[in-house]
Symmetry: C2
Subunit: 144 residues, 2 copies
DNA sequence: AACAAAAATGATAATCATTCGCAAACACAG
DNA sequence: CTGTGTTTGCGAATGATTATCATTTTTGTT
């Protein structure tokens, strides 16, 4: 019996969970796998749908609990854009902020060291350290 | 019978409402007055408490409907900071963003033309126009 | 491999902020 | 002053999220 690709992937995720001090369960692997593989920013309902495809006995309550645990562990980020439910994404890539397309709901990532730096400077000037921030640009496609 | 200060204030607010195409009601004047006078960023519960002090027959549903109407009319801005209910403020002053003190919950305003400009540039580079944005710095007081 | 303690799960009830539905009260153009 | 379209107050409904609790799993330990 050889180790499959999927097993490998699962093993990695399990190791990550353990490293974060979380117990390894089929549901957590499932949810983490879905979040890790996706390119978009799914909400709980969507995660539930996808996780359930792999393991139909996953409950929505557990998806809620799992994302909360993953956020706590710093493996996942939670975003709440205007007038929508919370969305989640893995935090393996470099830090970035978001553009929300007001017409399509599409979410585009961008990153600006210059803005980050200005934020810190401004906060410092007012006697604060920035712990984290939220920057969202609500946009429409530019007309030609 | 002379025109009192309060009447004057009320008259101004009434005129503003009319100008925005909204009917003038005692409740709307009340809520708008509370939002106009305050220095902080009250949520609906707080607005309800204060508006009710002046006019005890104001209901919370009406406060919700009124802030919605005022936002619609562009007279009031709505902010939803992390893990809190929506807060409101008048939009008479210059545009600004917010620092949220993670320890005290206090909200401090700041403003940076430079950041605004960078935001537009970035969006433009990706083919977008910024309609509005949200920038919040979650901070702690800087230790000496 | 079997065990016990601690933690996670599923199903469902509860919570919280906010919105709705509707009959009664009100605003305002004529 | 009157009619018509709005707004209000009340309470019920909603939607997302969290809590409860009995049952099942995980995992460190024999």
């Amino acid at each position: 019996m050889t180790t499959t690709e999927a097993d490998h992937q699962t093993g990695k995720l399990a190791a990550e969970l353990r490293l974060a001090g979380l117990r390894v369960t089929a549901q957590r692997i499932g949810v983490l796998q879905v979040i890790s593989e996706t390119e978009d920013h799914p909400d709980v309902e969507e995660l539930y749908r996808r996780a359930r495809a792999a393991d139909p006995k996953t409950s929505i309550a557990t998806v809620y609990r799992t994302v909360a645990a993953l956020v706590q562990a710093g493996m996942v980020q939670r975003h709440v854009f205007e007038g929508a439910s919370a969305r989640y994404e893995r935090v393996d890539k470099r830090h970035h902020d978001h553009i929300v397309d007001l017409d399509t709901g599409e979410i585009v990532e961008f990153q600006s060291d210059r803005i980050e730096q200005l934020q810190s400077e401004i906060a410092a000037r007012m006697g604060y350290d920035v712990i984290h921030h939220r920057l969202e640009l609500y946009c429409r496609r530019r007309q030609a």
